[in-house]
Symmetry: D3
């Protein structure tokens, strides 16, 4: 097949997916290795810009734990950890905010804006977007989401912009908190009634056997997920993650995806093919719909 | 390269073209063999629907000479021809209108609407779209365009619909005329200040040597076209066609394309690749811009 | 009374009706002898244009059985009939579509556009307007309405246009069907929650005694209509027609009118006088309202 | 001809006028005997409401000299006159304002609102509509228009309301002035670029021979009017009136009409017949257009 | 403290009130001594203009009993009173209307328009605003409100105008009635779901002991008000007034204020300070909210 | 004077300024000591929020040189300076961006959002806001503004938000540059055709005698400024500053103010008093207008 013919064929194959996700909000949690590898970062920017160009409305939420750690180290600061969480005093928070808003966020926005002035960084503290409170006084300024006001995001989407959100929230007194990016992404996707919430991680998705990559579960309904927790297929650290996905689906997100962000263009492969490449979790009702529509190239 | 990787690569390659033609009006004159071959007709429908899905605003203008001839024959009617034009009496006009609006137009619209309810047939007589007058009393109801009121087309485009226009015009008294489809397409493209006017024909484009397909001229500015007419490179029946293209460019159409409608997905190949596949004619100023932008994948 | 005084008096008499039906949607089923008589056709066009000019929003739905029969005959084709319905094979459907969309529809639109570029033909297949399925495999492509998507009609009305709809519907695969025009008119009026659905036929309206024109029933509520069916006043072929009118009223149409389309300007006389000229069927609630408002010149 | 047929015929005859004046602004100066005769006042209200109902946008401007005189008399107050103008001291102004805004205006609005809640009184002092200054210190609070801000009128028209304007203007310090109603009507018509400015007076229009009603001049262009002034056809007190009409036409009003307000429904007769009934003055260019369009029932 | 510092401090103190009442509708019943004292009238105009300038949406409703009495007297007319209400025959109504619409209303509007063209007088009869009927045939044209159509007021507010409403209502036949201004203000505030309804009167507010100004009740919930009626704290003529306030709160007005209009700038003092200066009555729920928010400077 | 009376008087005095600057864009360059003193920073936040609350549209532009120096120092990094500018290599740029976007900007936004969710941080790199290029290769990533696309700022203002802009620009390839905040503020004010551009600095304004604070020049026209440069009144480092102010005025900014940011609430004092407190530079035409309007409390 010659190159132009190939191009045409691929575009025509993509048509049903382009049509299906027209005007749909796709919230993408960006993090992990995908964010620190320059080549993957460039592909991620391309994927998000392409999604926007064909009519989807992507929203990016990112964290930046390793980059925060780097700057703390460069500053000669050490952190205490409790239950795997960094105790965040005022100085650590200041460093975290600088890294998240002034480095990680800026780099993501810049990488996209090479393809046109479409991306805009938004702090979770902007215009009341993310309200937060302290999770536990012992952890300092580690926050939990108390409320989301998605109006600013909706307005930016209405302007055809790509919001890139860093995970700082604030309380009524203006005190900032550093919040887990997965949590923020879920809260935002739920408040926007997003079509999809996509987690880019360093693993392929949900594995029936954590040691066997071939045991990847492509799709699961809420009921199936709960059965897998009950029968031990899902265990350990995966349980809270799956519980969070279930909660998002129950709070109005149509599908939650877990993808391996280190696969080049993993977003496009998941969104523009029937088989997909990672794990997709949906409500029981949607799972049934998708099973029926299978032949029609929908997911 | 595996299929999913290929898909991603092709989509990323298409990105600059998708961005470039966002919201742009592309008027496509549809006719010739492409219209009577079922497989090509299906591909044409797919191409137009895809163009709409990625944000372009296609407008289709079609004729239907052969199909009119068919029905006349089935009705046992014969036509006189003068200067290659069918003398159109009242009965012939009635037949032409039935075929154009009730058969050709309907089939084009139906073929597209398989992919979603986006296409809508529009007679040139609707809402004052095409005003016409008799070209020559001896030819009967063969018309020339006297005015175009593109408002109804603009409104349908604003509703994200694909207007499919048949080439019947009317005068102030409501008398209909059958008009040449190339002429109507040009008049509509000019009145809409279209980004592109694309003629789908049965030849590859403009040939420097009419007997040598390899002599295809990919791009020409107005000045270059005139030089080719002056030095005989363009000759015979091509001269009035090129003159029409030049006029459209001078009346505000950014580029006029001549493509071979019998090449599968020829629209996508022309629009989504740098090299293109047919002939593109632009103003001198745009030709210079395009030459500069070449490296950036623009045309 | 001098002519100018007369003009003023008539206009002032018309004022309450003009005010009452401001912005109201009036769906008119056009057919029968009114459509094949040139003089009546011109008056019909005038009436519809006038209705639009004083602020109503008319929608015309038409069939074209006799004209289809004519072309079939000219083509030497014969049809089989079952239960009074023409068995519609692919060739018959092709002919029907050409006649409805390319002849009858065009003539109606042209007749109106003499008074300004306000009318636009719309195929039932356009933009998903009428979804259909086969009524009975033995009848071929005779269709029943499965769904109506009135959005395109609403949009054209919002542009102050007069939609003229031909009664071709399509299924999801793009297959067309010829559908009874009364059925389509009712489906469209119901989907638009029209103020009125008007059937132009060849009889004066509902007669208590089918042999006595003087027995015309001017107004009937749903309950009264049912009583007339029960006590035999309405009988035979009128029963399904009245049942359809009752259904439309119950599905949200405020009033259904049966008028004799061969009476010159019958639409104006029905709409702009208190007495009216044909039969009007309303819900019990509206009938009571109208009885109360009688003195105020409302119906 | 039976009554219903007559109704239909008259409506169809009115159609071209209804279409022609769709959305057009018609400023009507209301005054004289037409305003003090209850029957004529009711007809005036009907005419204005009908004009609105068929799509025109009427604006009424009124004075109330006789009514002001009445109240002054009831209060035992006498006025001095200079050059035919009432010297307006503070008490006289107070009385004038009460009569204009609280009596004449209210009665006009009430008479119209019987036919629906469409009319609204507007003082010239409201929202900066009419800015004024003293004409001559010796005349007290008799004002000249210094500026018109038609925004409030445009907004009310956009709400499909009928503005009824009383002729009080104010200066920047909030001081009110009583202004001649003809002057205010002209200033408002010009600022709105009205289609028509209609003066309802007690005479039939412009007479070539002031003693011969049969010498009524139906139409005059600016040039013709000037010739009539030059050759003495127009003389005496008519000269300043015609000069004002000419000025309005030159300031953007398409036609100025002088009508006899004591003729029942004179507005409808003038607007809905080709011949009209009073005098119409237009620019030379429009006069030529109208002459051409005569056969088409336009003026 | 120097003057500029003082200015800044006061503005900053006003900030929470400015923010709280942003875009809120405040209906002010204007009357009593505040309306007949020139200095107070000027301050009232300033207060209303300032309220608009910082983002509130004030609506003024006024009566004019004393001014009506004045003109009746100047005209040598006497009135009969029954139960404290002036028997209003046709002449009295004519006088009342002239005074209300042509004098009192105009003066209020003019006083505000010195600060910019923002105020507009509106008769209760305009555009169907206030529908009325006779209260009692023996009282003549004294009216009760039967319906309020606030659309015209909403439209004027949307244009950033200040509506100043005089208290004439009309019935369907166009007959006018003079209506108590308190009643009209309440009806309008309720139909607009106003944030506040403010009565400017000649007393400080609700007094626990009518002889002791120090017994002013600053705030009362509906329940507290009813208790005060039950235990006799509120008695006599205050009872119907408080009942009206309670009704307004129950019909959707957030707070009703009774202020002494003879205190300079009483509106600003009530709206921009925590303590306020008069009496505020709210629903039980709002009273609780306010108690909680006390520290935050809200009422 | 009692407190409530005082409050009312101050508000009424502020009224003309509130009205004058309604909907006007005020660009404030924030920097210097005002930004590093917690108390002043809080007052600045209050002033900006108040300006927004009374209808102005403030835009804040900030730098952060000292804060960048702090973090560089904490990281043990040293900088070379040329001509007073810090040579900015990739690491310095990374630090600058973190400090500007992740610390200074966030603190300003947080301080305002205590008073409501109205402020939003915007990087100059967002949505193509500030395009930049290297000033001089020897200075590294120190940038000059090449273009401003104010659309994102206009959109945020249309949403009633307060944009807080950090001074990072980007080139087409996505490379960031650190740009002088005064330059960015001027470029943004000019592109927005701002009413005012306000520089908050550490000096009182323009001094005729740099050693004498009493020699403060309150107002200067362009011509006066040029004369002061010519006659040596303005000299040394003030010359380029004044030249920049002149350029802004000539590029469409109505007035440029130089204020001492260390004076509490200096913004309110300058904007809400006739005398002002710093230096205001305007075009010759505006200077004349202001002189005339002096008595009316305008500047």
């Amino acid at each position: 097949m010659s190159a132009p013919e190939l191009l045409a064929d691929v575009l025509i194959e993509a048509l049903p997916y382009i049509q299906r996700f027209q005007d749909k909000i796709i919230v993408v949690k960006y993090g992990g290795n995908a964010m620190v590898d320059d080549k993957l970062a460039k592909m991620f920017a391309q994927d998000i810009v392409l999604m926007r160009s064909v009519g989807m409305r992507p929203v990016v939420v990112h964290g930046g734990g390793p980059q925060i750690g780097d700057l703390l180290k460069r500053l000669g600061l050490t952190s205490e950890f409790r239950d795997g969480l960094r105790v965040t005093d005022a100085v650590t928070l200041e460093v975290a905010r600088m890294v998240l808003e002034g480095k990680v966020n800026s780099e993501i926005v810049s990488a996209m804006n090479i393809y046109g002035p479409h991306a805009i960084g938004v702090s979770g503290g902007a215009a009341g977007l993310i309200r937060a409170k302290a999770r536990n006084p012992e952890l300092g300024f580690v926050g939990d989401v108390t409320a989301v006001n998605p109006r600013i995001v909706e307005k930016l989407l209405a302007e055809d912009l790509i919001p890139v959100i860093s995970t700082i929230g604030e309380d009524d007194a203006g005190q900032a908190y550093n919040i887990n990016a997965d949590t923020v992404a879920a809260a935002i996707a739920e408040s926007l009634h997003a079509e999809k919430l996509v987690y880019l991680t360093d693993v392929d998705g949900l594995l029936a056997d954590v040691n066997d990559p071939a045991s990847l579960i492509r799709r699961a309904s809420v009921t199936q997920s709960r059965e897998m927790i009950a029968n031990g297929t899902i265990s350990g650290g995966m349980i809270p993650k799956i519980e969070a996905c279930i909660a998002s689906v129950q709070n109005g997100v149509r599908a939650v995806h877990m993808l391996n962000g280190t696969v080049p263009h993993v977003l496009l492969i998941e969104l523009f093919t029937d088989a997909g490449i990672g794990t997709m979790l949906t409500s029981d009702a949607n799972a049934a719909l998708i099973a029926r529509a299978q032949g029609a190239g929908q997911h």
